[in-house]
Symmetry: C2
Subunit: 317 residues, 2 copies
């Protein structure tokens, strides 16, 4: 067993089940652990059994723990409230959702502090933008006024410097058109999306349309690609690393999606762990591994677990 373990650790073979005696040396090799949320530590409103113990024991053992999610519908504060209710030991500065990270991106990379954006998004995004000094117009319903709309001549706010697209349950043709008019008519208008997730998976195989659908609609109209903040774009890791001085080589990314979570880890040189409580399967990972396609190798995790609860024995031992 010991020689097999050494072989696995030394050979660089990928997509290894993380179990038994292999868990402790892997955890010992990192100082920080990044967790995706939905499908990893909870599903919808149900915590994954054992997840809170894993998180809390990791922190007690001295690891830095961060929560990195593409979901743009909650502020850092809202995440901490949800986590606390579920028994997780978490604080606001450990939470990196795309509402917060988009605000950081717009402020630090786009220099939009004190400026205004047209926001297709949630109240949570509005709040995170406001918290860094960026005003928005657009949140909430955008009703068609009158019967025959003059779509190309809708009122635009001349102060708007960027179109920002996140999850928005009030998304509509009116908003799609308004975004297009800003992108056509406002010189130098920036175009930023929170993430490209095509679906939000729910319990029982159900799913609803994700932000990627809304972003695709706007991109198709604009004939232009948005910059996206969310995974697998490395910005979210850079956001964590710049605030906490994380060493990529001593960091583990834990997620349930190969195309976002594991790809982010690969893009940033992190160790990667797939958990099977969400979207992707071991078969998906093996298909990427066997494809011979260089880009798809980035979606092969170093390790996988059935659930992050599989880490518990090593942490309790």
């Amino acid at each position: 067993m010991k020689s097999r373990l050494l072989f696995t650790l030394m050979s660089g073979s990928k997509c290894t089940r993380l179990t038994g005696a292999l868990v402790k040396p892997v955890l010992d090799s990192v100082d920080s652990v990044l967790f995706d949320c939905d499908g990893v530590i909870w599903r919808g409103d149900q915590a994954i059994p054992g997840a809170s113990q894993v998180i809390n024991l990791l922190k007690e053992s001295g690891k830095k723990v961060f929560f990195v999610t593409n979901n743009s519908t909650k502020t850092r504060k809202m995440y901490v409230e949800k986590m606390t209710t579920m028994g997780f030991n978490a604080s606001e500065e450990e939470v990196f959702g795309t509402a917060y990270c988009s605000a950081m991106y717009l402020k630090n990379e786009c220099k939009l502090e004190g400026k205004k954006v047209y926001l297709i998004g949630s109240n949570a995004m509005r709040d995170e933008l406001q918290a860094v000094g960026i005003q928005q117009t657009g949140v909430g319903e955008d009703h068609i006024s009158g019967k025959q709309m003059d779509w190309a001549n809708v009122d635009l706010n001349p102060e708007v410097k960027a179109v920002v697209v996140g999850f928005d349950e009030h998304f509509s043709y009116t908003k799609l058109n308004r975004a297009l008019q800003y992108l056509i008519q406002q010189p130098g208008c920036l175009f930023v999306g929170t993430n490209r997730d095509t679906r939000l998976p729910l319990e029982g195989g159900k799913a609803v349309p994700g932000t990627g659908c809304l972003l695709q609609a706007v991109e198709t109209a604009a004939q232009r690609q948005a910059l996206t903040v969310g995974k697998p774009n490395r910005y979210m890791f850079d956001c964590v690393a710049s605030q906490f001085g994380v060493d990529p080589g001593r960091c583990l990314m834990v997620g349930d999606r190969l195309d976002t979570d594991i790809m982010l880890g690969s893009n940033c040189g992190l160790k990667t762990l797939l958990t099977l409580t969400g979207v992707s399967t071991v078969e998906d990972a093996e298909a990427h591994q066997k494809s011979g396609c260089a880009e798809r190798q980035g979606m092969v995790p170093d390790y996988y677990v059935e659930s992050i609860a599989d880490l518990l024995p090593a942490l309790q031992g």
Copy 2:
């Protein structure tokens, strides 16, 4: 001049300006002429100067004339009313818009007569579907009920056999989600789009989002491609040909878009004529010609005119 004309006619060279003595032999070589509408015979609510004379003289000279448009917001009847107001001699059976053609497609190819579809589209589409015995649900606004929607469990009509996407100014997240739920939850649910035009171009370089944006959003959510009825798919020509016995070799397609109109003509073996009163330019056509890419050769027209009014002298002579 005569030898140059003969050379042009014989050599099969493409993207030739159709002018002077070249016009008559080209018109003599066809029995039927298909016209796109917006950007070809009108722009918005303004007829292209001379267009109605061209259409009316072609018909007086014994040509069959048809109107083939990807726009799904009007019934055949509405088109004839618009054309009559503008001085065109036109009848309903000559008009092939995607509202009508989608109804024909759903009836004849999908065997949905007497069945029900979920329609993202206009009242005009509803009317054309009803006229061939297909019922719909979905037209008009689809309001979010209550504050926290249970998106994955919205009410579905169990009779729905297909999701149909056309232009819809009431498009919304609610509709996008409902379309996805039909496509996920209804076994064997068909998925049909009217067309993929990304923008509707308007006067003065303005544009609004086209049906292609809405279709992309639904396709991204569904992780599945729709069958599309509109140009460049050959179904619209087949629709004309099956009703009027048109010989492709003796038919001219006139349009302002290389990617839809000219491509349709190429796909169906028609002669093709680009008019420069709309979207595409001669430079666009030449770029396709020089690309060396086989698929892009289908977007090179046989001929071009500044405006279809350039055909007038030959018709009046």
